[in-house]
């Protein structure tokens, strides 16, 4: 064996081919089957896609590095489940390009934060976390309320997401900027289109409390309020997994 190596280390090209070969095996065995084995991701036929406003909110969540301190992955451990809710299913991040499972909980897990607090709580908390949780070490995000949300290119965002596999329709793409506005302006005529395209369960509210202005705060709160709400893990998907022969 060492004799073989003695010859191998005299030739640079065979040597680098050997490195590439040896280093490829593990990744190939672990990653490739995840795309082909059907059971890897559960079925959730009723799962809906993110609205344009939620996509924008998700992008703000990434931009501000929220994932550095908050996970979105409830593990199958008793204390995780009792603290944060039903353990996370693979299907729940099916439309997450990229996933935001996170690696650190400087703050609590957010996988099921949606609906747990009111919009107003989120707005106050993001404006100054210490106004509602005195001991919090979270940064203030007060400028979100002052920053107008850029919606003009949301159609392009949805189109790119469709290219990587999220089932957005042409109708959704064409109306993306209008829907973003409509979702945060419940009394406006354009809000009906959001419900029509994304379903009756969609939150249509003035998330930041000001229906006339569309701010980054609207988008981020809309996203936080949908976390864990795209499908109900307790009901259809788990039941289906059991039915499968």
């Amino acid at each position: 064996m060492f004799g073989l190596h003695y010859r191998l280390e005299r030739k640079s090209i065979p040597f680098i081919l050997a490195i590439v070969g040896v280093a490829s095996i593990g990744g190939f065995v672990e990653i490739a089957p995840l795309f082909t084995i059907h059971q890897t991701v559960e079925d959730a036929p009723k799962m809906r896609v993110y609205t344009p406003l939620e996509v924008a909110g998700r992008n703000i969540y990434m931009r501000e590095g929220c994932y550095a301190c908050h996970s979105q992955m409830i593990r199958t451990l008793r204390d995780d489940v009792e603290r944060y809710g039903h353990y996370s299913l693979a299907v729940e991040s099916k439309y997450d390009h990229p996933m935001l499972w996170g690696s650190k909980r400087t703050g609590p897990d957010l996988a099921r934060i949606g609906g747990k607090y009111s919009d107003q709580w989120h707005v106050i908390h993001l404006d100054n976390p210490r106004a509602v949780v005195r001991q919090s070490v979270m940064p203030r995000y007060d400028w979100l309320m002052r920053t107008e949300l850029k919606t003009s290119d949301l159609g392009l965002h949805l189109k790119a997401l469709r290219a990587v596999g999220v089932p957005y329709t042409d109708d959704m793409i064409a109306n993306a900027p209008v829907d973003a506005y409509g979702q945060a302006a419940p009394d406006s005529p354009v809000s009906e289109g959001v419900v029509k395209r994304y379903g009756a369960a969609t939150n249509v509210r003035a998330f930041d409390g000001r229906p006339n202005e569309l701010t980054e705060m609207d988008a981020l709160v809309a996203y936080l309020q949908i976390l864990g709400q795209l499908t109900s893990p307790g009901a259809d998907s788990v039941a289906q997994a059991k039915e499968r022969p």
């Binding site: 060492f2 003695y6 280390e9 005299r10 640079s12 090209i13 040597f15 680098i16 490195i19 040896v22 280093a23 490829s24 095996i25 593990g26 990744g27 065995v29 672990e30 084995i37 059971q39 890897t40 991701v41 990434m62 931009r63 501000e64 590095g65 996970s71 992955m73 593990r75 451990l77 204390d79 603290r83 353990y87 299913l89 693979a90 299907v91 729940e92 099916k94 439309y95 390009h97 990229p98 996933m99 690696s103 650190k104 909980r105 400087t106 703050g107 897990d109 976390p129 210490r130 070490v137 940064p139 203030r140 995000y141 400028w143 290119d153 392009l156 189109k159 790119a160 997401l161 990587v164």
Partner: protein
């Protein structure tokens, strides 16, 4: 630097820079409604700066033919200086964000300065800015000595070095502006990733061209590790960053993968960035500088073969240990855990090979802080790899994951292993590169050593404590069977440890600043003692010729 290039190399340099300026201009034009345009302008400014630098020496006389008789060390010198600049910047940001967790209001009322944006600035600056530049600088040095061959040309090493730093600048400024893929340790967006791919291919080609010119029949073990670092990082980088941009005028892109497949790809990348960037590359450094400085041959050739292939094969499997108890299928988690445990064998083989090499030279370890940096690095390498394998065991991970224990583990590796071996190698190579007998001040090297060691120990102990306390509080139940502590209770309990951590980080930063000053004084001292005779024929003859390294 430019005067050392031949006139045809100056022409090529100018052509490359003009092309880069054109790219920058195009980016600035098509991306004017997006942050993409800001980065276009940045690329343009960098290219124009380069054009001025080349232009100023464009008609300088041709470099002497004597240069071909000596190694080409300018890129190594520049690389070392750049890595020192990055380390001070990166450690400063790191310590700042550490204090932000003590008092979250120690910042400005602006997006760029919030914790979430600065944290990747810290990680990228220290891993890629400091570590990457040190790896490139030392690899140029080592590949020439161990091959007894000069670099094949003078332009491509500069292209690799400056191209790589442009990538780092795009990355770090991007986070502050709000440009990120949010993939941990792979945050830069698609265009920066494409640029890095180009630079990286140039790096590989340069390495292979130098090896092709070698006068030693065997490729020395350091080069195996540097090659594994270059090749596997390329593979990881390309696959992990596959994405569809929103448009060619947008900085934003969407990852090709989603959910569970994306998580596995990201941690396949993430853990192997640790493996092939932070381990493989620095082992290459260790296998050259430690035996050289100790004046001892490597303890065992066979042990180095076993550990090299062991690390290359086992490491790539272990990424899934970041995803225990998640929605990732259990069989992948189990594979990750199993291979993490097996990985301990080649890791400890490397660490013991390094420490046994010091047999017969322990008196030097006692007297010479530079060698002691390297010895302590090997010890921390052994400790950290043991800890890593331990934390990959599923039940242990159920406690440690998501807590500060992970942060402590990472810093035991990053400060104790990566930074220590790098500082040791820098202190060894600065006098060799600048042609002086020793560093400006051995006492300051000693001071740096103790500050670095104290900082690392304080940091790691603080995070072990906070991590384990946090993990235990999260899973403690009352007698009535309900959770005993709220999340906020655990946060409050962290406060003293966060202060200790920030103090430890400050000590480490102080050491690095002293190191920079020492290197700066050494180069000034070198310029003073050598400038007059350096131009004379005798001095050129005395300069290091193409000699074997071992």
């Amino acid at each position: 630097m430019i005067a050392q290039l031949t006139s045809s190399e100056r022409h090529t340099a100018l052509a490359i820079l003009l092309l880069l300026a054109l790219c920058g201009l195009t980016m600035a034009g098509v991306g004017r409604d997006d942050l993409f345009g800001v980065h276009g302008a940045l690329v343009l400014v960098a290219a124009v700066g380069g054009i001025f630098a080349v232009g100023a020496n464009f008609y300088a006389p041709e470099p002497s033919q004597h240069r071909l008789e000596h190694y080409y060390d300018d890129p190594s010198k520049i690389g070392i200086v750049l890595s020192l600049v990055w380390v001070v910047f990166g450690l400063f940001i790191g310590d700042w964000v550490a204090w932000l967790l003590v008092n979250p209001d120690l910042t400005f009322d602006a997006g760029w300065s919030s914790f979430g944006r600065l944290r990747p600035v810290h990680t990228t600056s220290v891993i890629f800015g400091f570590g990457g530049n040190a790896l490139i600088a030392t690899s140029f040095y080592v590949m020439q000595r161990t091959s007894r061959a000069r670099l094949p040309d003078q332009l491509s090493p500069l292209f690799v070095l400056f191209g790589y730093n442009l990538f780092c600048v795009l990355a770090v400024t991007g986070y502050m502006l709000g440009i990120t893929q949010s993939r941990e340790y792979a945050e830069p967006e698609w265009y920066a990733d494409i640029w890095l791919t180009i630079v990286w291919i140039a790096y590989l080609v340069l390495y292979l061209r130098t090896l092709a010119r070698r006068k030693e029949p065997h490729i020395y073990v350091s080069n195996w590790y540097y090659l594994a670092f270059i090749l596997v990082v390329a593979m990881l980088h390309i696959v992990n960053n596959l994405a569809v941009p929103v448009s060619f005028g947008h900085a934003k892109s969407y990852s090709l993968f989603s959910g569970v497949q994306d998580a596995m790809t990201e941690w396949w990348y993430g853990h192997n960035a640790v493996a092939f960037f932070l381990t493989s590359g620095f082992l290459g450094m260790m296998y050259y500088y430690l035996p050289k400085r100790a004046g001892r041959p490597v303890f065992s050739y066979r042990l180095s073969i076993i550990s090299f292939w062991g690390i290359t094969f086992f490491y790539i499997w272990v990424g899934s240990h970041h995803l225990h108890y998640t929605a990732l299928p259990q069989w992948v988690q189990t594979l990750g855990m199993t291979f993490s445990l097996m990985l301990l064998v080649p890791s400890w083989a490397s660490a013991s090979n390094a420490l046994l090499t010091l047999n017969g030279a322990w008196h030097k370890v006692r007297d010479d802080a530079t060698l002691r940096f390297m010895m302590v690095a090997a010890v921390f390498y052994g400790l950290t790899t043991f800890e890593g394998s331990f934390m990959a065991i599923r039940p242990v991970n159920s406690l440690s994951h998501f807590t500060d224990w992970t942060i402590g583990h990472v810093h035991a590796g990053a400060l104790g292993w990566v930074a220590m071996i790098t500082f040791g190698s820098i202190y060894a190579s600065v006098p060799w590169l600048w042609k002086v007998k020793q560093m400006y001040s051995a006492k300051l090297v000693e001071a740096h050593f103790w500050l670095a060691l104290a900082g690392t120990v304080v940091y790691v102990f603080a995070m072990w404590n906070s991590g384990i306390v946090q993990g235990l509080m999260w899973r403690t139940y009352n007698e009535s069977g309900t959770l005993a502590y709220s999340f906020v209770d655990s946060l409050v309990a962290m406060h003293p440890y966060y202060i200790a951590r920030a103090v430890g980080g400050f000590l480490f930063l102080a050491g690095a600043v002293i190191g920079c000053w020492n290197v700066w004084m050494t180069t000034r001292w070198a310029a003073r003692v050598q400038a007059p005779e350096w131009q004379s024929e005798s001095a050129v003859a005395a300069a290091p010729a193409l000699q074997p390294a071992e």
